[in-house]
Amino acid sequence: MSGDHRFLGLLYLSPYIIGLLVFTALPFLASFYLSFTDYNLMSTPTFVGIANYAKLLTADRTFKKSLSITLFYVFTTVPLKLAFALFIAVILNYKLKFINFFRTAFYVPSILGGSIAIAVMWRYLFADVGIVNMALQGIGFEPVNWFGDPTNALFTITLLRLWQFGSAMVIFLAALQSIDKSLYEAASIDGAGKFATFWHITMPLITPVIFFNLIMQMVQAFQEFNGPYIITQGGPLKSTYLLPLYIYEAAFKRFDMGYASAIAWVLFAIIMVLTLIAFWSSRHWVYYAGDKRS
């Protein structure tokens, strides 16, 4: 509209613009610069070129291990969580009684989510003599050494995050409930079976929220910290030493800020590449209603 309106809009945005510059953009650039320096808080940062990255990618065996378990963790946890959340949302979308009760019950673990108390509880549940092993023995299985065995420890973190499928499920459920019922009636008249209906009508219509959940859960999973920090302290044998733990210890225990920034940038680059792949591929599988392209 008028000139003062243009000024006004920016005025209302001023907290955001200042915050964006001071707390996001500046640190973002500074972190990139720091990743090319040697900086231990005592002296000023010294520029060392690509030395940090060279060390990371060639000599640092902890980094290699940490990177591979981080990727493994994300690529198992995120698909399992999304599949489970969608599965339960589809069941809840039938006209069932007590739907509000179930939705609440399934959502409570997400609310308590990353809290330390829940991580503590997980340690007790999966302890050698905890109730998970009692339940396993009750149905005739051998008790499992959850935290002592490097092959199991990471899976307990995955289970903790699967237990928190509720927020993804609520989003799926809202999307399912917004689908126009007449589409299902049309499919039913055309003689489509349940699976065909799900695959050809439901799935395309909820691809936007699958996409949204996929990105959000992926970014979140790559930054998992509380679970391994409290439950396993990265062990045993670094089998749960995810990259955020490594970054935290490098930066705030050893005060090796340059090296920690380099690890953070490798992690960031991986997240960015995967996000871009998801965005780029989305035009082939995400369907937006009213979009003429598809």
């Binding site: 509209m1 309106h5 243009r6 006004l8 809009g9 920016l10 209302y12 945005l13 907290p15 955001y16 915050g19 964006l20 707390f23 996001t24 640190p27 973002f28 972190s31 339960i88 069941i91 069932l96 179930f102 019950a105 959502y107 409570v108 673990p109 609310i111 308590l112 989510g113 990353g114 809290s115 330390i116 108390a117 829940i118 503590v120 509880m121 549940l125 302890a127 003599v129 109730i131 339940a135 237990w163 509720g166 989003i171 459920l173 809202a174 999307a175 990105i215 790559f222 930054q223 910290f225 509380n226 920090y229 409290i230 970054i247 930066a251 800020m257 920034s261 953070a264 960031f268 997240i271």
Partner: protein
């Protein structure tokens, strides 16, 4: 001719009845399977929490003795001793600190995010597209990449070991998710009332305070509730910035109790775990519709 019609109709009827019955049977089987799955999943979701509460009233020797949650000889020893902690402070102090972090942070978030969302949703200005794109980018930007320079910035400002690093970024609309949520909500509200008020001579500021904010209230409640939960649960922020025990929030205090007493005093840890999730749990049950609506709106309309 008439006979023929009647007999085919009869055949049709019995056929239809058969199909109907089969459908009903399939419906009952389907419903049974669905309820079975829901109850099983519900049990897995809730039993750990029920067990946690029950076990916090058990004696240490009983905690790992059986899978049940009802204590044989209920005791509040875990609560009494856990509350005292191994520090000079009680958990009351740590709850107070948490409160001191949470409340200013929520107020700063609510005010700044409302103003910014209003600016995005109701005004045109140069660079709007880029700024909105930056909001989405911030939403996706992993905190891990900005954390170290932020720490250095707050150190240079002399803010380490204070609550300022936890408050200030939020007061500058630092939580992009909330701005985004409010913008989506505002875009769905018709502008008629605001335009009428403008015609009557109200300033944009008055429109914001007297018309937009009341309409925005449900969404603002969602924002405050989510910020409350996230701040209550936040561990890494205080871990990096708060170093004196007298300023610890409950998340750090709980970690401290684990490190100092977990070897044998299990019921203290469990009791304090229950207490630290109690505020979040209470708020959730009182206001759960705002959570469900907030998260659905943020996801679906985005």
């Amino acid at each position: 001719m008439a006979d023929h019609v009647i007999t085919t109709n009869l055949a049709d009827d019995s056929e239809a009845a058969r199909i109907l019955q089969a459908q009903r049977r399939r419906h009952i089987i389907g419903a049974t399977i669905r309820y079975g799955i829901l109850f099983a999943v519900g049990l897995i979701m809730l039993y750990p929490l029920i067990w946690l509460v029950g076990a916090s009233f058990k004696t240490n020797s009983e905690i790992f003795a059986g899978p049940g949650f009802i204590p044989d000889s209920p005791t509040i020893a875990g609560y009494v001793q856990g509350w005292q902690t191994s520090t000079p402070y009680t958990f009351g102090r740590f709850f107070w600190n948490t409160f001191l972090i949470v409340i200013p942070k929520i107020i700063g978030t609510a005010i700044s995010c409302t103003a910014v969302a209003y600016g995005f949703a109701r005004f045109d200005f140069p660079g709007k597209k880029i700024l909105f794109a930056s909001l989405i980018a911030t939403l996706l930007l992993p905190n891990v990449v900005t954390r170290i320079p932020q720490y250095l910035l707050f150190r240079d400002l002399g803010w380490l070991d204070s609550f300022l690093p936890l408050w200030v970024p939020s007061a500058f609309a630092g939580d992009a998710f909330f701005v985004f949520m409010l913008v989506q909500f505002l875009r769905a509200i018709p502008r008629d009332m605001e335009e009428a008020a403008r015609v009557d001579g109200a300033s944009t500021w008055q429109v914001l305070v007297f018309i937009v904010v009341p309409l925005l209230t449900p969404a603002l409640i969602s924002v405050c509730l989510f910020q409350f939960m996230w701040t209550m649960n936040d561990f890494l922020g205080p871990l990096i910035y708060i170093s004196s025990v007298d300023k610890f929030p409950v998340s750090l205090a709980l970690k401290l109790s684990i490190d100092t007493t977990e070897a044998f005093e299990w019921n203290r840890i469990l009791a304090m775990s229950v207490l630290t999730i109690l505020p979040a749990l209470t708020v959730f049950f009182v206001a759960q519709k705002y959570f469900i609506e907030g998260i659905s709106a943020g996801g679906v309309k985005g």
